[in-house]
C-alpha cells in the first residue's frame, strides 16, 4: 500500500518545532529508547541523532560548556539535561491551529463518514484543540473545506459508512459487492471489490480497490455506487494491488486516445476549468476571451457526448467528423422523442 511521500528536505522550521516538542517529552521520559522517541515524532533514528547533535551547540547566551544543553544516548537510551529554558512544549501557531481545526470540522461535516465512536473522538478533539489553541483559534473561520459533495444526508452516506465498515471490520478487511454506474457507457455493473482506501479528489469521495471483475485496481466514485454490501469474505487486496498516484488529479489521457477539436463560445469557456485540454487557441481578433478552439483527448466519445449535449451548441465538434455525426444523431433522436410527447399532449381528446 502506498505510504505518504517523505518530505524532500525537512525545513529548519520543522526541525526546530520538533526539537521544541521533543526536548520537553524526553525531560519527562528520561532513558526512553531512541527507537521509541523516533517513532513518536515520526522520524528515523538517524534523523533523530542528527537532531540531537544540534543540541550540543545550543544553550543560554555565553555558550560556555555549562550553558549548553546535554544529550546522551549511550546504549540506545536517551537522556537530556540542562534544558530548563525549553522544558515546556511550545504552543500552536495560528496556521497550525487553523489547519487542524479546519480538518476536524471538515470530517465532522461529512455525512456517513463518522460512526458514533469517531464522532465522539472528532468533537472531543475539536473542543480540546480549540481550548489549547487559545487565541490562535480565533481566526478559525477564515478557512473552511467542504467535502460533502454528492453526499446529501442519506444519499451516498450509506455507501461511505458501508465502505468504512469493510475497511475496519473486526474480522479483518472484508470484500464489498458493489452495483456501480459507469455514466460514460451508461451501464450499471455488479463487482466484487477488495477495498484499499476511501479518498477525496477535487472534493469528491472515491473508493479505490481491487476489482475482481476487472482483475485490477479501480477507482469508484462513491456517488455512483448504487448499492454496497459487506460480504463475509476476506477483503485483503492481492499483493500486486498498488494505489494510484492521484496528486495531479484523476484524469490521465492515454496515447491511444482520440484527439478531438472543439470550438467553444464564450458561454462554454467554463469547460476549460473542468476538463484537461491539450491546447487553447483564441479565435477573437482582439485576443479577448471570446471564442476559442480547443484540443483534448478522450478514450470514449460517449463521455464527450454527455459533456456536449447539454451545452446546446455552445461547443461544436470540428473534428473528427464521425464524433460530430454521433453527437448530432443522439440529439436528433432525443429531439424527435420530446417533440412526440409535445404533439401527444396537444392532440385533442
Amino acid at each position: 500500500m502506498r505510504r505518504p511521500r517523505p518530505p524532500v528536505q525537512p525545513s529548519a522550521a520543522d526541525r526546530l518545532s520538533r526539537l521544541l516538542a521533543m526536548v520537553p517529552w524526553v525531560l519527562e521520559h528520561q532513558g526512553a529508547p531512541l527507537e521509541e522517541v523516533a517513532d513518536r515524532f515520526g522520524i528515523t533514528t538517524d534523523q533523530l541523532v542528527k537532531d540531537l547533535e544540534l543540541l550540543f551547540v545550543c544553550g543560554t547566551p555565553g555558550h560556555l560548556p555549562d550553558d549548553l544543553i546535554e544529550a546522551d544516548w549511550e546504549g540506545g537510551r536517551l537522556h537530556i539535561g540542562n534544558a530548563e529554558a525549553i522544558a515546556r512544549p511550545l504552543r500552536l501557531g495560528i496556521d497550525e491551529a487553523l489547519a487542524l481545526i479546519t480538518g476536524l470540522r471538515t470530517l465532522i461535516d461529512v455525512p456517513g463518514f463518522a460512526g458514533e465512536q469517531d464522532r465522539e473522538a472528532l468533537t472531543g478533539a475539536l473542543a480540546k484543540l480549540t481550548e489549547a489553541a487559545g487565541e490562535a483559534a480565533h481566526a478559525s473561520r477564515a478557512l473552511s473545506v467542504d467535502l460533502t459533495r454528492d453526499s446529501a444526508p442519506d444519499e451516498g452516506s450509506e455507501v461511505l459508512s458501508t465502505a468504512r465498515e469493510a475497511l475496519r471490520h473486526p474480522a479483518g478487511r472484508r470484500r464489498l459487492r458493489l452495483h456501480y454506474l459507469v455514466p460514460s457507457r451508461d451501464e450499471t455493473t455488479e463487482r466484487d471489490v477488495d477495498p484499499m482506501r476511501l479518498l477525496t479528489v477535487d472534493g469528491r469521495w472515491y473508493l479505490e480497490g481491487w476489482c475482481h471483475r476487472a482483475g485490477g485496481v479501480r477507482m469508484f466514485r462513491v456517488d455512483r455506487i448504487v448499492t454496497a454490501e459487506v460480504l463475509d469474505a476476506d477483503g485483503t487486496p492481492p499483493e500486486q494491488a498498488v494505489a494510484r498516484d492521484v496528486d495531479d488529479g484523476l484524469f490521465t489521457p492515454g496515447e491511444d486516445d482520440l484527439v478531438v477539436t472543439l470550438e467553444l463560445d464564450a458561454q462554454a469557456r467554463w469547460l476549460l476549468e473542468h476538463v484537461p485540454v491539450e491546447s487553447v487557441e483564441e479565435l477573437d481578433e482582439a485576443g479577448g476571451q471570446g471564442r476559442a478552439r480547443v484540443r483534448l483527448r478522450t478514450a470514449d466519445d460517449r463521455w464527450l457526448r454527455r459533456l456536449l449535449l447539454p451545452l446546446g451548441g455552445a461547443a461544436v465538434v470540428v473534428d473528427p467528423p464521425e464524433v460530430a455525426e454521433g453527437l448530432a444523431r443522439a440529439a436528433r433522436t432525443a429531439l424527435e422523442a420530446h417533440l412526440a410527447v409535445t404533439r401527444a399532449e396537444q392532440a385533442p381528446g
Partner: protein, 331 residues
C-alpha cells in the same frame, strides 16, 4: 559525538534554537545588538545590514511557529531602542490531554492538508500534540484519505489576508463576460467547495458581499493596510453564499419532474430518482425532485437519447432548446 561539519540547514536550526533560548531566558528586554552577540551563529553575518535582514526573517519564522515574540522598551522614561523577549506565560501549550482516539482523528485532520499548502503547519501541529504523551491508535482510520489541494497561486495570500483580516486588491476575470477587472476586497473566508477554492468577502467597490473563485484571480494579490482592519460579520455562511452563486441563484420551490428512462440506460437519472437497482434493465417512468429547471434539463440532455422529459412543459422545452442547439450547430 557531534557529527562533522554542520550543513546550512543545521546551522539555521541551531541559530533559531539559540535565539529562542536567549529570548526565553532573559529577564530584561534584549536589544538587537545584544541578540547579535548572544547567538553565536549570527557571526556568519558580515555586515549589520545582513544581520538585520536575517533577524527579520528569523523573527517572522518564530512567530509562524507560535513563539510569542514581544517587543518593548527597557525604560518608560527614555525613548530607548526597542527590545525583544519571549512572553514566557504565553509560550507553553496549555495542559491538555487527548485520548488515543482523539489523537488519531487529529492525525487524520492533519492529513487533509497532506498535498496542500498548509501541509507543513499541519504536520508540526501534530508533532507538538504527540509530545503530550498519549499512544496513537490509527488502526481505525486506515484506508481513509480525505484531502484537499491548493493548486491556485492565489490561495496563500488570500488565506493569509483572511486570517489576518487585511484588505486585498487583485485582478479578477468574471464568469459572465470574462473581462478582467481590478477588485478591492476585505476577505472573510477562504473555502474549498466542490473541489474549487473560493474567497468570500466584502467587495469594497460594490459595497456588498461577494464570492470570488480563486482560479479566476489573475496575477499577484496585493495586501494593503493594517491587519485586523475590519470585523467579519458573525452570521457569514460562506458555503451557502457559494452554493447560491454556483446555482446561479435560480433556486425556487422544489418541483417534481416525470421522466421516461430507457432500459439499461440513463443510470445517473435512475440513481437520482432512486429507481431500484433490480429494475435497471427495464424502461421506466420515474419522478425526480428539482429546483433548477436548467440544471435538470442539462442532465436529461446529457443522457440523450435515453431520457425523455415528460413533464413539466417548461422542463421539456428547456431540453428541446438544448438538443435543437446541438443539432443546428452541427448541421
Amino acid at each position: 559525538m557531534a557529527g562533522g561539519a554542520a550543513g546550512a540547514g543545521d546551522r539555521r536550526t541551531e541559530r533559531l534554537l539559540n535565539l529562542v533560548i536567549a529570548l526565553l531566558s532573559t529577564r530584561t528586554w534584549l536589544s538587537k545588538e545584544q541578540i547579535r552577540r548572544a547567538v553565536p551563529q549570527y557571526e556568519d553575518c558580515a555586515t549589520t545590514e545582513a544581520f538585520d535582514r536575517m533577524f527579520e526573517r528569523d523573527k517572522e519564522e518564530l512567530r509562524e511557529l507560535g513563539v510569542p515574540l514581544v517587543t518593548g522598551s527597557a525604560s518608560a522614561w527614555f525613548d530607548d531602542e526597542q527590545g525583544y523577549r519571549v512572553d514566557r506565560d504565553a509560550y507553553a501549550l496549555p495542559e491538555v490531554s487527548f485520548t488515543a482516539a482523539e489523537l488519531a482523528v487529529l492525525s487524520l485532520a492533519a492529513r487533509v492538508w497532506a498535498q496542500a499548502s498548509l501541509a507543513g503547519p499541519a504536520a508540526r501541529a501534530l508533532t507538538k500534540l504527540r509530545a503530550l504523551g498519549v499512544e496513537v491508535d490509527e488502526q481505525s482510520l486506515i484506508g481513509v484519505e480525505p484531502r484537499v489541494r491548493t493548486a491556485e497561486p492565489a490561495f496563500e495570500p488570500l488565506y493569509a489576508a483572511a486570517r489576518d483580516r487585511q484588505r486585498v486588491t487583485f485582478t479578477y476575470r468574471t464568469a459572465g463576460t470574462g473581462d478582467p477587472a481590478r477588485r478591492s476586497v476585505q476577505p472573510w473566508q477562504v473555502t474549498s467547495w466542490h473541489g474549487h477554492w473560493y474567497l468570500v468577502g466584502h467587495d469594497l467597490d460594490r459595497g456588498a458581499p461577494r464570492v470570488f473563485r480563486l482560479s479566476r484571480v489573475e496575477g499577484a494579490v496585493r495586501r494593503s493596510g493594517p491587519a485586523g482592519a475590519y470585523e467579519v460579520p458573525d452570521d457569514v455562511d460562506g458555503r451557502a453564499m457559494i452554493a447560491r452563486v454556483a446555482a446561479g441563484a435560480r433556486d425556487g420551490e422544489p418541483r417534481t419532474a416525470r421522466l421516461r428512462l430507457a432500459g439499461g440506460a440513463a443510470g445517473q437519472l435512475r440513481l437520482r430518482a432512486r429507481v431500484p437497482a433490480a429494475s435497471a434493465g427495464e424502461a421506466v417512468e420515474a419522478e425526480v425532485t428539482f429546483t433548477d429547471v436548467e440544471e435538470l434539463a442539462a442532465t436529461v440532455a446529457a443522457a440523450a437519447p435515453h431520457a425523455v422529459a415528460l413533464a413539466p412543459d417548461d422542463l421539456r422545452e428547456a431540453v428541446v432548446r438544448r438538443l435543437r442547439g446541438v443539432l443546428e450547430a452541427h448541421a
